[in-house]
Subunit: 133 residues, 4 copies
């Protein structure tokens, strides 16, 4: 099973709907199980920083098979994975907004959202994930 | 004047239509006047190499304000810009498939396509550009 | 279909046999369809340069879905893809020794070999590929 | 004295046995005294993130001549080496799973394991190290 381009765009559209509802422009990215981009969209006026962050959140979620939020807890000073964020040339993002995409219990990709507060990013990522089916 | 996200997606859809007509899966990217991603789509089974190439063609076209095809002629051994392709960490692409997007004579962004032969990439980039209006 | 770790090691062992027969120490790498490493082995006294080259040859072959040898012809000055070697932070290798691995006509990974002359690298890559079945 | 390719593969196999016993797929890497890869193996379904982490743990252990676990204690906020993890393009890993390999008191290489919890990674790295003799 894999995420088709059409599915990725549907997930992004769902995340965009949530972003519009919240009223904060977002960047949304979907990657495949190899961590490679399928599709990415930057809403008008979204932060430049969010281009890399959204893609890297999606990458991180598939690379570690948990959400970036969970990884973030493990990466705090004194926790077991503190320091992971500098590996892979800094591609690992350790705050919320990146979620793995699973099919029948197998991770087949990731979605990443950046642009608002972490809570807003997570809400949009969840909305995007809900559109996978 | 700037390229909105909706316009970028419309340009990408037009390039995709051409790719479907040709029968070769493509990656299409649209960047703004700052060279930053607005949207990027990888069609199912498109080459992994095309992810970076499409984005970098779009970047190159806006960065030098000519098509990557024209830049390519100037970058051949013995020509005036020979060697430019190694600058900017290798982001400049020097073969066809990247086009600047102009509005009233002002460059406001770029579109890049990769996935087929250079001729096919150029045809899709032109189809995408035609959707800008 | 995917290349298992055991299959990758069997391919590497076959390439090693060929390298031993030739008498030149080699580095051999096998990557999956996402371009990510499955296994890599450096024979004693193989060139340090070959560590990156072998991995990047394998990456390149799956990323462009042709051998690095074929890509190399297209990347010569005056040819259609001249300049591609600087993209992707220079990961594309444009001389022989990288081969895509196909299953039922679908590219599912790549093998890359470096250490000897290009002809020797290609011979070892072919030996490794032959062990896939 | 140096770690031969055959020794590296034997160490990796021993670490794999431990990973199989634990039931978590791992990536294992062995590097020489120059910090350069000798061999690396990714077990089926191991995390993508572990490819870089395993190699960099092995690198780190030989580069600082202590385990990545010990380095991690020194790299916490307020400790003497806080911040080291961003040097060398982020290659230094500061949590457990990387061990130096010594012969007669001389460090001749490193082994790195990633894929499970830090405790599991350390257990596999120790198993791999035990196979050196």
């Amino acid at each position: 099973m894999y995420i088709s381009k059409d599915t990725a765009l549907r997930m992004i559209a769902a995340a965009e709907d949530k972003a519009n509802e919240i009223g904060v422009p977002m960047v949304i990215a979907v990657v495949d199980r190899g961590g490679n981009l399928i599709a990415q969209v930057r809403q008008d006026d979204a932060l430049l920083a969010s281009i890399d962050l959204a893609l890297n959140k999606a990458y991180t979620a598939v690379a570690v098979k948990v959400s970036t939020e969970v990884l973030g807890e493990l990466a705090q000073p004194g926790q077991s994975l503190y320091g992971i964020q500098t590996d892979k040339q800094g591609r690992f993002v350790i705050f919320g907004g990146g979620l793995p995409v699973a099919h029948d219990g197998v991770i087949i990709g990731g979605i990443g959202v950046s642009g608002g507060s972490v809570e807003q990013d997570v809400a949009c990522a969840n909305a995007g994930l809900s559109a996978y089916c």
